[in-house]
């Protein structure tokens, strides 16, 4: 029986399917056989402590880091075995919000927002500027912000611009790397709200990584926890605070004592 037939019989194909993903840096194993399915139109939040490999996982899925083993499938097509052109095409369907925004500081805000559209030759520069103003308004920023440099913006505004850049090309997948890190709780809630709105409006499939529990519950439909390179728990995001898993409960409630022992270097 072919794999396609097997999958057809076993239900809908996940938008993103990760199997047996492994990645080590030197002798340090960061991802140790990750299996993850993200269904179309849903948001999955991956939680985990600092240095647990969350960013590496998302970069492996994006193809920014080459995994040592395992597979990543988008719409049932393997990404890692595909030719570079197909990988680039798949990547063009993904919008990414980086942890620190990663805005291009040599370009004005509007060019940052419209960068992907200009790179794909989808619009002229005047059209790109108009489109940037439209997308900026969707994240609650005035069109005049478009003429500023990223360095002139506050942290919250930079996050909004980065979100605008991620959604400008209307991707069908959105990845968020620590979207609320460094923001005050109110601004964090604002950014989470914008993320939820954008994901719903575009009908996108989303993966967010965070260690902010409030953010995880606001953004996610599903949640998974990464610990020591393995996904130790997966379930509904609403069950995060009462998962029944001791390690997850320790993490989500911020308890010092429990199965997770912080590694301290002396």
């Amino acid at each position: 029986m072919s794999a396609t037939v097997q999958r057809a019989m076993s239900g809908p194909v996940p938008k993103i399917r990760v199997r047996g993903l492994r990645k080590a840096f030197g002798g340090k194993l960061v991802l140790d056989g990750i299996d993850l399915d993200v269904m179309p139109g849903t948001s999955t939040v991956v939680i985990g402590g600092s240095g647990s490999g969350k960013s590496v996982l998302i970069k492996c899925i994006l193809g920014l880091i080459e995994p040592d083993a395992g597979s990543v499938e988008i719409d049932g097509k393997s990404l890692l075995d595909s030719p570079a052109r197909d990988r680039a095409a798949a990547r063009a369907r993904i919008g990414m919000l980086f942890q620190n925004g990663a805005l291009f500081d040599s370009l004005p805000v509007w060019e940052n927002v419209a960068f992907g559209l200009l790179a794909q030759n989808r619009v002229s520069r005047p059209e790109a500027k108009a489109k940037a103003a439209e997308v900026l308004s969707q994240v609650g920023l005035a069109a005049s912000v478009g003429d500023l440099s990223p360095a002139e913006l506050s942290g919250g505004m930079q996050k909004r611009v980065a979100l605008a850049r991620a959604i400008a090309a209307q991707p069908d997948m959105l990845f968020f790397d620590e979207p609320t890190t460094g923001l005050d709780p109110i601004m964090g809630a604002v950014i989470d709200g914008l993320i939820v709105d954008c994901v719903k409006r575009l009908g996108s499939t989303a993966i967010a990584i965070t260690h902010d529990m409030a953010s995880a519950q606001r953004i996610g439909d599903r949640a998974a926890m990464l610990l020591k390179g393995k996904l130790i728990w997966q379930g509904d995001a609403s069950a995060l605070l009462d998962s029944g898993n001791d390690a997850v409960d320790q993490f989500t409630h911020g308890r010092r004592d429990g199965p997770i022992q912080m590694e301290l270097r002396r």
Partner: protein, 259 residues
Amino acid sequence: MLLDLVAALGRVLLGACQSAGSLALFALAGLSHVLRPPYYPRLVLAAVAEMGFFSLPVVALTAIFTGMVLALQASTALSRFSAESASASLVVLSVTRELGPVLAGLMVAGRVGAATAAELGTMRVTDQIDALSTLSTVPMKYLVAPRLLAGIIALPLLVVVADILGVLGGFIIATLKLGFNGPTYIVATLNHLETADVTLGLVKAAVFGFLIALMGCYHGYNSKGGAQGVGAATTMAVVTASVLILAFDYVLSELFFVR
């Protein structure tokens, strides 16, 4: 003990080979992106302006003072053989063949090589290079290829200016201080200057421009470890570009001028 020494030596040698291979692959990838579309003429022009136009003051000052000191030293040395009249030819040949390209190269390596490494290094550690990849842009094509091309274009243009100003510096000292006749000095300069001297000096400049851009891009693009990594990349870019300029100066002189 001896085995440990050999092992350490082997590790150093392997590391050097690995670095050389990695640099060669980076250079080939960069050059292949120079040739293949899409092109970024706006970025090439900006890089030419940064490397060429904004380096003009420092290169001009270096060239004019070098020409001046060269005329002084040439006159002193040649007077011992009663050959002061050869000063003009010594100045013009030294400037066009060697000092113009080498000194302009070293100045630009310090100014632009460092800035390139710092800019790309900061982009690397702040995820801006990864962000380019997620926005349908090949970082090598967008960041590296325009700079490599700009290096090949801008440094020869700078060296033309350096050559003229270097000769002018020699002329000023020869006529105002050493008592040379102005028109005679100019005639002697032009008589001893061949097209090949200037052309091959410009070839050197193009190679040096490529090396400066390559070192800045390579070390910046591959930097890691935050601010300290960016600082190390900047230092490495200037040091390696300077050493390579001197090494390639010898190789190109050997290839073009001796045989």
